[in-house]
Symmetry: C2
Subunit: 174 residues, 2 copies
């Protein structure tokens, strides 16, 4: 699977169950969320704007962008967790199994983050994002087209601090 | 990393935190465990016996065996979870990145299970075990030598039923 196919397959409504292991304290946090993933067209104004901010000409560059929106709760319904983000991926022209990310938090005031992806030969997608003092590595893979798993780890200057796991089931319309 | 190196690196004492997502009901189960992993010598009587049971001549076959023991609790200290298992891995002679498993539950009355492994180019180890009506796939990888992650999924005749995640931190002796 290439990165474009991988992201196209992510489009739709998902039920996501998430647990976070605090690697320092041993604490556990759990959450559930409805997640919507939308593939952005190349003429989408948000996509064009983000590309311009990053000096990328979206009309000639091969890329794919998705908008991820979530609406959930953390720790047994106590805390609401909603938001959205845009993720734009640009495959390397000489090796499309790897490339860079143009991440954004949706408010136009992104922190300085550098991101890249690696699409493994086993169809596991790894996303790596780094900013000052922070390293995050996420792995995504499909078990079947309607079920995927996701792990992530966060590393700060004092070492790995969090590891999280999501199981995501596609909401199939009847 | 090859499979032998991977298993040698697993030797020692680990603190394991585990969460299990029920993909059918949405329920969550959590557990914590102390895990001890011991590499078995090629002259270990248990290793020799298991090989004999499986018509494998341990004196001439390249293999590695480990004994995994755990002592933990499930769901906030309520249920004790202790046990041990032996895992013996035999690399394919023509392609050691893949091979078979000789699993055992330690009581000599193993169910009919067939198992195999794939060592990925990204150093992720996948273990696949199958018995009648049951398919289990586990993935293991090290973030650093003292921290590793593990995911597993269980598939029954009605589809994928469980997905679990472990973060495992090595107990470093001071």
């Amino acid at each position: 699977m290439d990165i474009i196919e991988f992201f196209k397959l992510s489009a739709g409504e998902w039920f996501s169950q998430r647990t976070v292991h605090n690697l320092v304290s041993g604490d556990l946090q759990a959450g559930k969320s409805e997640v919507n993933v939308e593939v952005l067209g190349k003429t989408d104004p948000i996509l064009i704007k983000l590309c311009e901010q990053n000096q990328v000409d979206s009309s000639v560059t091969e890329l794919i962008g998705i908008k991820i929106s979530w609406n959930g709760t953390i720790n047994k319904e106590k805390v609401k967790d909603t938001g959205s983000t845009i993720l734009i991926v640009i495959p390397n022209s000489d090796d499309p199994k790897q490339g860079k990310l143009l991440p954004d938090r949706g408010d136009g005031n992104s922190p300085k983050i550098s991101g890249r992806y690696i699409m493994g030969s086993d169809d596991v997608l790894t996303l790596i994002t780094e900013s000052e003092g922070l390293y995050a590595e996420e792995r995504f893979w499909y078990l079947i087209p309607n079920l995927r798993l996701r792990t992530s780890v966060i590393k700060k200057s004092n070492g790995f601090t969090l590891a999280s796991f999501c199981s995501e089931i596609r909401r199939v319309k009847s």
